[in-house]
């Protein structure tokens, strides 16, 4: 069995993203199950020195790609590799365009594809992979049996389990591949968005529709400043334009795990809950005592938040 991990992250740095994926497949017991893991590295860089990378057998370096992020180049490289090695699984670990790369590669190969799975298992008896991913907007987990081969990715989270260190030095192969495309006539301008700082914040305040207005959010920003918290919102709040798009929390936004997560006027729909559930402490303020959020909070306060947040802010 063979797994191909495809990445454009710089593998020379101790890389969180790649390690996080490797840790999520370490439960497949590559050694005992005779799974070979190849890393496809797509970059402009020419030559790298030997590195240690746990569990990886071979690193295939596609190093003459002018535009490594270009989706059609990523697919071409994957197909090139596929023609030689035909891996059972492609696992994608890309900076951008992951959500386009995965289904499009799978469609080209007529195999299954899964975005943002939670975990993967290998069934020794059937010799098949089992994929677990959220369904029903995250209210339920779906257990899929991969019928043949698949392309997939894991959810990106901040926390990751530890790798077993065995100081493995994979073989490096350079692939002479020059059939790359340069971008067509699209004109792309990039607007750098001020990072929201949400991922690294120790204290996050999630505002929901229940805060009532954009103006109230401004007042809550003052409060957030006074307690050193970062402010973000639910989908309803983003839809209304009360907070910028890069502050959305949830399965379609960011998944966070701060020391404290304070929710204000948030009902606790599953896609939102899945974004905050890994917080060390959840405090919920909601005026409805039956709100779903209270089932998942460590501390709850039932009432109008304006009576609860320190008065000077309102």
């Amino acid at each position: 069995m063979k797994i191909a991990l495809i990445t454009d992250y710089n593998i020379l740095n101790t890389n969180h993203e790649i390690n996080s994926v490797l840790s999520k497949i370490s439960n497949l017991n590559p050694k005992t199950n005779n799974l070979k893991i190849d890393l496809l590295y797509i970059s402009k860089q020419t030559i790298i020195k030997p590195i240690t990378l746990e569990q990886v057998n071979e690193i295939h370096i596609y190093n003459q790609i002018e535009e490594p992020n270009n989706i059609s180049n990523l697919i071409k490289v994957a197909l090139h590799y596929n023609n030689i090695y035909t891996p059972d699984l492609f696992i994608s670990c890309l900076k951008e365009n992951q959500d386009a790369f995965i289904p499009q590669l799978a469609s080209k190969l007529s195999i299954e594809s899964f975005l943002n799975i939670e975990s993967i298992k290998f069934d020794n008896e059937t010799q098949k992979f089992n994929v677990i991913k959220p369904i029903y907007s995250g209210n339920v987990l779906g257990h899929y049996i991969v019928s043949d081969r698949a392309v997939l990715s894991f959810t990106k989270e901040k926390t990751s389990s530890k790798l077993i260190k065995v100081s493995n030095v994979p073989i490096i192969k350079y692939i002479d591949y020059t059939d790359a495309t340069t971008l067509k006539d699209d004109i792309v301008t990039f607007e750098k968005v001020v990072p929201s700082g949400i991922k690294d914040a120790k204290f996050v305040i999630v505002c929901g529709y229940g805060v009532g207005s954009a103006n109230n959010i401004e007042l809550l920003k003052d409060y957030a400043k006074s307690v050193n918290a970062v402010i973000c919102g639910t989908k309803k709040v983003i839809d209304l334009g009360w907070l910028p798009m890069n502050t959305l929390i949830g399965t379609t936004g960011q998944i966070i795990s701060p020391d404290i997560c304070l929710t204000i006027g948030v009902s606790g729909a599953a896609p939102l809950l899945n974004g905050i559930i890994k917080s060390k402490l959840i405090i919920a303020i909601n005026k409805d005592k039956d709100a779903r959020i209270f089932n998942y909070a460590d501390y709850g306060i039932v009432g109008d938040y304006k009576d609860i947040i320190e008065k000077e802010h309102f």
């Binding site: 951008e96 301008t189 839809d239 404290i260 959840i282 947040i309």
Partner: protein, 268 residues
């Protein structure tokens, strides 16, 4: 020129009660049939984006397509009532639409020969299976370019201007057509309302229909795909401790103490 929006009727999962998320052992399903049927929220955003393009370019034709049973015509009528020109329903056995490949295949079959179509919009994701891949696969099958996570799109001088979020920021792309976009949340892009008169009129409008037989999906190809073996509900419910107003300590003091203590201790 023509623009197509692909829309889906879904259950409003927000109103499903906590305790109803249980798997029925015999059917291996979850019974949420009491929930309202609505248009998938991301498809609503996509539909509104489409209508805003035609607000300024009247000569562009618009169409909505849905895959589903007779009931799902409700969302098509809604679209007709707010100004969409044509509506098409593709019928298929419910079991066969559990994966994005089959959906994309059906849409591809419908769209591929229509040379007028220059843009197809899909919501980025819908309820139940949450694969989030239909638009991308459709683009691959059509051989068109594809942009995901689009929150705005406009049309000018035969180019589309697409704005989309990426993991590092926002991209504005001036692009040729044809293309497929998948639409994410977008500020102030709520679907417009229909007037009562237009709602009445929409009831009389014809809806194009593509039957099962014509939709070109055979059962055996489906069997190989997406074997959902079982569902589980794994909840990490907590025992919430409620803070109450009391004489000795006001509620806001209790809250700030809780916050300060937790931050100092590095939590539990």
């Amino acid at each position: 020129m023509k623009i197509i929006s692909c829309i889906k009727q879904v259950y409003d999962l927000d109103i499903v009660l906590e305790n109803d998320w249980v798997v029925d052992e015999t059917t291996n399903k979850i019974n949420i049939d009491y929930a309202n049927l609505i248009m998938n929220p991301y498809d609503e955003t996509a539909l509104e984006l489409m209508l805003r393009i035609t607000d300024s370019s009247k000569d562009i034709k618009t169409e909505v397509i849905t895959i589903g049973n007779k009931k799902s015509e409700a969302i098509l009528r809604k679209a007709l009532a707010i100004g969409v020109d044509d509506a098409t329903r593709i019928e298929i056995d419910h079991e066969l639409i559990n994966n994005p490949f089959n959906i994309a295949k059906l849409l591809h079959h419908k769209i591929k020969d229509d040379k007028e179509v220059k843009l197809v919009l899909c919501g980025r994701q819908s309820d139940i299976f949450n694969h989030g891949q239909t638009g991308q696969i459709l683009a691959e099958k059509l051989g068109w370019s594809c942009f995901t996570n689009v929150f705005n799109i406009t049309y000018k001088d035969s180019y589309f201007n697409v704005s989309r979020t990426t993991s590092s920021g926002i991209e504005h792309i001036k692009t040729n057509n044809p293309l497929v976009v998948t639409v994410t949340q977008s500020p102030n892009m709520f679907l417009r309302m229909a007037t009562l008169m237009n709602t009445m009129k929409a009831k009389q409008k014809p809806i194009n229909f593509i039957s099962k037989e014509l939709s070109e999906i055979s059962e055996d190809t489906n069997e190989k795909f997406y074997n959902l073996e079982k569902l589980t509900v794994e909840k990490s419910k907590k025992n919430c401790i409620y803070l109450n107003e009391n004489k000795n300590k006001s509620i806001n003091l209790q809250l700030s103490d809780l916050i300060n203590n937790s931050l100092n201790k590095g939590v539990k």
